[in-house]
Amino acid sequence: MAEWLEEMERLVREREKALLGYAFVVCGDSSLAQDLVQDALVKTFSRPRAGLGAAKAEAYVRRAIATLYVDRYRRQVRWQRVQHLFRPPVDVESTTPFSDLSADVATALADLAPRVRACVVLRYFDDLTVPDIAAQLGLAPGSVKRYLSDGLRALELRLGALDDADHALAGEVTATGHEGRAR
């Protein structure tokens, strides 16, 4: 069996739920999470990558998940402007049982715009810096900062004060005002 195929099968076997969980945090929808992981696998393993160990393969797939999600959103922007003409609005409600905290978090994340959500996940889940997020998602660093600032403000409205909110822009040259913010 080809090495890449063996690597991919092992990754799916051992880390499927973790990848699906990550994709769910990124997108908030279990069906879409499934599609994102599937597409991310194809994207990651379509090209030979030297020395692709288990940890690195998973990291590749996670990055691909976030990129695919934001890219999907970009493509849909135009369509979203006209799709209401064709489809009746549908209220999507989660029927999945959650703990109270998880439900609150899921609801809070669902209120974020896709790019904002992706920035928050990459910053706090993956611990990427603002420049890394910008490069990853193809956004301007200033936009990433604004998304993080907006996202944290919205999350704190829902979830209350967060210990690590002030770390959103840590390590950056410039600030947008979270440090020392009174509460």
Binding site: L20, Q38, V116, F125, G138
Partner: protein, 552 residues
């Protein structure tokens, strides 16, 4: 308090994905198919056959569809007449975020707006064209066309196509119908359906002549750039020019192998337009009721601000005159330009600094560019204690109006809430106004909007706190006194979806390709001039002096 990082990880562990699954088998099948296609295409490339995507537009009635096929050469000529910007050498066309109902195909007053600089090309990269091989399908009003999409082999692209392709129906250069579909899910060939109804109210497109375009995109990974370049003939067949790939959203040169996968360059490809004839007798101006508001007396629609237009406008207004920050005056600062590496520095930003114990001075270079009008009413005086605004949390209404003649696409749906307090030309504090309404649910809600000429966005906020720029002074770093207040509004202009004609000169080619899977594919095809997307973005901050405030 809790940590957001912990919350997110807990959510991932408890994510409701028990019913979801991924299969390595399916992924492997898609990967292998892509690799096989690459091998096959490499072989055919040696024979001078281009990597192309074949799209066959066939009528649901296959017999009628084949019978409706006309002369492809004349179809290309007709399309060139109809869309000169796409066919002329040196000119370009754009199909971007503005390309929704009633918007024109060609954008930008300056045809060179969309020209791609040669330094943005990636040498040796292979780009496919999109090929339509049924130039004149006949159809009845309200019919549904089946667009058959087939990947006939591409060294670097087969298997890399991502997501939906978009079909556009154009009438006299205006988008009147569109749809999306994903033909790439499991195979290298598939179909999408195009209902011939307009995208305003779903009414059947009236009889008349239209053009159909199909666009798609794929990810061009950085390894495509650094790997040995595939052999690509300079000319294909009787003269298709090898196209250029433009732009990259990643910085592969600075990454090490141990780092996670970088973002790939997204390459957009648009087909040549083909004719669609809807039978019957139609009105003289079938879309008068829909297009009236968008067309000026000259018959052209307003344009959308593109990155290059923004650069040009900014450049025209650049001044090195120090800004006095007189109330009501404004300066625009270029914060980021994807074509100027490393521009995002403290020199292009005005506000508090994380690395210094003092605020910054206003950038030496800024521009007077009357793009936005910011209006608000500030309290004359506020009392601040330990960063808190003590008394009453004054209400602040902010309205941002687009005073330019262009549309600003993809702007946040409400004004930015950043204020900078300035003393003697130095930023001494910042404030972030707090929205008084709960975050809007995403269902059916568009967080980004398009701000047309003279349209505005507005919001009502509370002023709750002030953060001093001196970290060592803590939250009470702001001293009593009178300060100039600036509002900072970001404008991010990117070209997501803008399609740029990168080919120096489109040269139509006819020939028997024979690989497409549809009945129509056995006929001659016309290969479009490949067009690619330049991932291009530029960010500005518009600083508006709102006057002074006294802090007690």
């Amino acid at each position: 308090m809790t940590k957001l990082a912990d919350i997110l990880r807990a959510l991932a562990e408890r994510a409701p994905v028990d019913d979801a699954s991924v299969t390595a088998t399916l992924a492997a099948r898609r990967i292998k198919r892509g690799r096989r296609a690459r091998i096959a295409a490499n072989t055919t490339a040696a024979l001078g056959v281009a990597a192309v995507i074949a799209l066959a537009v066939i009528h649901p009635d296959a017999v009628a569809g084949v019978a409706a096929l006309g002369d492809h050469g004349s179809a290309q000529d007709s399309s060139a007449d109809r869309y000169p910007a796409m066919a002329d050498s040196g000119a370009s066309a754009a199909l971007g975020p503005q390309a929704v109902c009633g918007t024109p195909l060609s954008a930008g007053p300056d045809p060179t707006t969309w020209t791609v600089p040669s330094d943005q090309t990636i040498p040796g990269a292979t780009v496919p064209g999109l090929t339509l091989n049924s130039p004149t399908p006949g159809a009845d009003p309200g019919a549904v066309l089946t667009l058959e999409v087939a990947s006939t082999g591409s060294p670097d692209v087969a298997g890399q196509w991502e997501g939906d392709v978009t079909a556009w129906v154009m009438w006299n250069g205006y988008v009147v119908a569109t749809t999306q579909g994903n033909p790439w899910a499991d195979t290298d060939a598939g179909t999408i359906s195009l209902a011939l109804v307009n995208c305003w109210d779903g009414a059947a497109l009236p009889a008349g002549n239209y053009d159909v375009l199909v666009t798609g995109h794929y990810a061009h990974s950085d390894s495509d750039v650094t790997d040995p370049a595939p052999v690509e003939p300079a000319a294909i067949g009787s003269g298709i020019l090898a196209p250029a790939v433009v732009g990259s959203a990643s910085d592969s040169a600075t990454r090490s192998e141990s780092e996670p996968a970088p973002a790939a360059t997204v390459v957009y490809v648009v087909s040549n337009p083909i004719e669609l004839v809807i039978s019957g007798e139609g009105p003289d101006d079938p879309f008068a009721n829909y297009l009236h508001d968008d067309r000026d007396p000259g018959g052209t629609a307003s344009t959308v601000l593109s990155p290059q237009m923004a650069r040009d406008s900014y450049a025209r207004g650049i001044t090195s005159e120090p800004w006095t920050m007189t109330p009501g005056t404004q300066r625009v600062v270029l914060g980021y330009d994807s074509r100027a590496d490393g521009l995002w520095t403290s020199n292009t930003y005005f506000g508090c600094s994380w690395t210094s114990d003092s605020g910054s001075r206003f950038p030496a270079e800024s521009a007077t560019w009357p793009i936005l009008e910011v209006t608000t009413v500030l309290p004359r005086q506020i009392e601040v204690s330990y960063g808190w605004v003590v008394d009453g949390n004054p209400r602040v209404d902010v309205t941002v109006t687009n005073t330019s003649s262009t549309t600003i696409a993809n702007i946040w749906h409400e004004p930015d809430t950043s204020l900078v307090l300035v003393k003697d030309g130095v930023a001494v504090a910042e404030a972030s106004l707090v929205n008084t309404t709960a975050p809007t649910a995403m269902a059916g809600f568009a967080p980004f909007t398009s701000l047309g000429s003279h349209e505005n966005i507005s919001g009502t906020y509370l002023w709750r706190d002030i953060v001093g720029c001196t970290p060592s002074a803590g939250r009470d770093g702001i001293q009593a006194g009178t300060y100039t207040v600036l509002h900072r509004q970001s404008i991010d202009v990117d070209d997501s979806g803008y399609i740029v004609n990168a080919a120096a000169e489109p040269v139509p080619v006819t020939g028997d390709w024979g690989n497409a899977s549809s009945a129509a594919s056995s006929s001659k095809v016309v290969t479009s001039a490949p067009m690619t997307l330049a991932p291009d973005m530029v960010s500005f901050a518009v600083y508006t002096s709102l006057g002074t405030i006294t802090i007690t």
